[in-house]
Every structure is written in C-alpha cells, then in structure tokens.
Symmetry: C2
Subunit: 271 residues, 2 copies
C-alpha cells in the first residue's frame, strides 16, 4: 500500500482506476466501497482528506475522528492500492474557485448546512481531476451528497462513472457512521429507532397506496421525539432532484435527519 501526499505522484498507469473519496475513520461502509472498487478495477485509490470547506465554523471539523495509520491498514486489507492523504495546504493553496450545484443541493442538508455542498462538490471535482478515476464509489448513507455529485458530474461532463452503494448497518439497523463513536451508551441504544421509523414509513406507504407520504410524517416524527430525537426533516424524496414526493415510486427514498443529544444523525431507506 502506497501512501501519497503529493498529487503529482498519483499517476496510475494500470486502468481501470477505481476511486473512493473519504474523510477517514473507516468503518464497514467505507470498506465495502473499497472492496467493490477492488473487484471492479485494476487499481483502487482511496483518498483520506477531512475537507474543511464542507464544515461550517460551528461544526465538528476539529474533533472529526482521525487515525491515519489504522485507516491505511484497513484500506489495504480491503484491497486499496494507494492511500492519497494530502495536507490542507496541498488541496487549498488558495480557495478562489467554487463549484455550485443549484436545486438538488438546496433542501434538507443544504438548508441546514448552506455552504456544505459547494464544499463537497468543489473538493470532489478537485480530487477527480487529481486521481482521474474511471469509476468513483460513494455510500448512499449520504444520499443528498450522492445526488449533488451525480448532478455535478452530469452538468460538467466529468468523465467518470459513479457507483452508489447501499448503506452498511450495525446488527440493530443503525447506519454506520464515523460519528457514531460519539454517542453515549444510552444514545447508542436509542439510535436504531431512526432506522426503524424509516422502515415502518416505507412499509406503510407501500401497503396503502392511497395514503400520502406527508400524512405519515407527523406520527413518525412524534414517535422519534418520544425516543429523544429532535427531528430536523423527515420526508419521501426523489433522489434525482431531492424534491419531496407524496406518492410511492420504487426509485424514491425516505430520508431523515435528527439530533440525539449532541450528535446529528442522518439516514435513508428505499421507498
């Protein structure tokens, strides 16, 4: 496993190249992306870069979990060939160009974190231009991020094939996340309710096509509140547009964001 700091040393000659952009603190979700890339490509590049421009000043940039040595071992075991771990100065000698995706980036996470997706779109495009992958792998846990990256790639004609993989979950249904380590034992016990409620919403809408998605939301929100969550949004959406929808379609997803104590959790499931 080669650890690279300088993008000039990234040149990979054997193709196809698969690419997994990450912020480190690897869990099974990341490792599944790497394994998929290793299966489908001659070489797999994993980037490890905690991107400051996608954090707002009050967010958890400084306490984001970091352990590069452990991450490098895990990535190698998952089949990665190169770990690209640049410094902030390497990625941003300055920051004067920004990629903005309108529409798909504006609701939900975009409404709560107004500068987040410009930061994501810009750094992902920069990383694509440095790594020049044939395929890139993203986890559906960050559904709106997937939607923004897909739109950016289509709109800017970026020559890369995107692969979105289903969320990897703990036994009790909690979506894997680098931030789960910050849950208290009590919060950790309650956290799987988020997924339970999504699964129940999906079942309810599928079983009664006459009901509208928004009619199911108040009771589901109340249930989460009873479990100690503070719900920020809960909706059925078309993941192409990230617009709310009322009626079932097999391509739609139920999405949720909620605070549990000091931790913000997001999740989504197929409709």
């Amino acid at each position: 496993m080669r650890i690279v700091r300088d993008p000039a040393e990234l040149a990979v000659t054997e193709r196809p190249v698969g690419f997994v952009p990450t912020m480190g603190a690897f869990h099974e979700g990341h490792l599944e992306l790497m394994r998929a890339s290793a299966r489908e490509n001659a070489r797999t590049v994993v980037s490890l870069f905690v991107n400051p421009t996608q954090f707002a000043p009050h967010e958890d940039l400084s306490k984001y979990p970091r352990n590069e040595a452990r991450d490098a071992e895990l990535a190698e075991a998952a089949g990665a060939d190169v770990l690209f771990a640049p410094s902030v100065d390497t990625i941003y000698p300055r920051h004067t160009t920004e990629v903005r995706v309108s529409g798909v980036s504006e609701r939900f996470e975009g409404a709560i974190r107004p500068t987040h997706f410009a930061g994501v779109a810009t750094v992902v495009l920069k990383l694509f231009n440095m790594v020049r992958p044939d395929r890139a792998y993203f986890g559906l846990k960050d559904l709106q991020q997937c939607a923004v990256v897909k739109r950016m790639v289509e709109d800017l004609n970026v020559p890369v094939e995107l692969r979105f993989l289903e969320t990897v979950r703990e036994q009790d249904g909690l979506a894997m996340s680098s931030r789960n380590v910050y849950l208290s034992p009590d919060e950790r016990e309650r956290a799987p309710r988020l997924h339970d409620v999504l699964v129940q919403l999906a079942r309810s809408l599928r079983e009664d096509p006459s009901v509208l998605a928004e009619e199911l939301v108040p009771a589901a929100t109340a249930a989460l509140n009873r479990h100690g969550f503070e719900v920020q949004y809960l909706a059925l959406v078309d993941p192409e547009s990230m617009e709310p929808r009322s009626k079932f379609h097999s391509s739609f997803r139920w999405i949720v964001a909620a605070r549990l104590g000091n931790i913000r959790l997001i999740d989504n499931v197929p409709a």
Copy 2:
C-alpha cells in the same frame, strides 16, 4: 476535417491533443491559435459554440456573427482535425452547476458584465471535460478571460496545459475581433487609437520609472474621449490577479475597454 455535434464522438486516440475553444467568426487571431496547436500536438480540436450563459440579456448573443461553413474551411486550412460544433441543448440539457472564480473575475470586465465569467469558466470546464485536451490555446486579447481560466484550472486541478498567445492585429494596430465587422467606416478609422494610447502609456511608464500608472491615466482617457471613445476602464494590472498596479513590472499589462458608437472594444498590451 471532421465536424462533430455529439461529445460522445469526440474520442481522440492520438495524443497529445490540442484544443482551441472558440465562438466562431474566425479571424487571424483564432487561426494563429489553431496553427500553434497543430504544430505542437498530434491532433487539434476546435470547438465552435456561441455560449449563451456568458452573454447578459441585453448583450449581442442573437446578432453574434455566425458562419459555420466558412469557419470549418478556415479551421481546416489552419491545421485543425476536428470541429466540435454542438447545439445549445447538447451543452446545456439543463444548467444547474456553475463554476465561480472569485477575485480575478471581479474587476474590469467582471464589474461591467457580472455573470460573464461564471458562464465562461463553466463552459470552458465542460468543454475541457468533453475534449480532454493535453493543451488548450487562448488569445491574450481577452486577458481577463485568460486569467480566469488559468485560475480555474489551477484551483480545480484540471489536467491541461494552458497556452496564451499574443493578440493578432490589423496593419494599423487594431486588435482583431469578431465584432470589428460591426464598426462603421468612420469608427473603423478611429478604432486603432485604442491601441495607440496603450502603446503610448506603456512607453511613458517604462521611460519614467518615477511616475505612477494612475497618474498617466487621466490624460490618456481624455485623448480617447477626444477621438469619440467612451472609456470604461484603463489601467495597469497584474494579469495573475487582475489587480491594478502603479509601478512597472515586465509581467504587467495595460488594459482598456471603451465604447465606440454601439460597439464595445477591449484591448491590452504588455507594460
């Protein structure tokens, strides 16, 4: 000479590929870019696309001169291998992602045409991603455009080498421009004064290093006004930042924009 409408048919296997993005209405300035590309690359792709997103509603998009058949002949004679002439719908099936370059895009042309450079940066990046050139060629006539594209390429790590070529001029010094055909005979006769004034400013500053650039501007502006120009800006700038400068440096340029009747002319010369 192959004329291509569909970016999927652009795939060029012989490298290096040189690329000349244009809005057509070719003159010697364009043809010099194509000849330079043909000398330095195995294949040369010229794009012909009058990009609507870089025109403001009141600007001359609809009357921009167009003659594809003539342009194709000229490009072929200049050594181009492919003319990429897509439709507006091909380039913009929708327009939801925008590349914004701050700083370098904000003064001068950016102040007069506030949406112009986002349109330029976005379409140039799209064209780069479609053509995937090794080198791209731009004329220094549009100095600030060169500065914005250079900054965008550096900031987004776009894998292309940029070449900026000196402005090609008529015998009397008028910078070649597709819009020159709209000058009346009287305006055409007065137009070269714009270049004369820039040359005189450059000489004055070089000859007397104690003088400041901004001290020379009022008399030069008055001279242009006497010739019937309405000066929009006239300044010495650092082309890396497009910031005004007071003292001579060999990398700086004198820039000017002025209206002559209904036609807007821009020009620049080395300091």
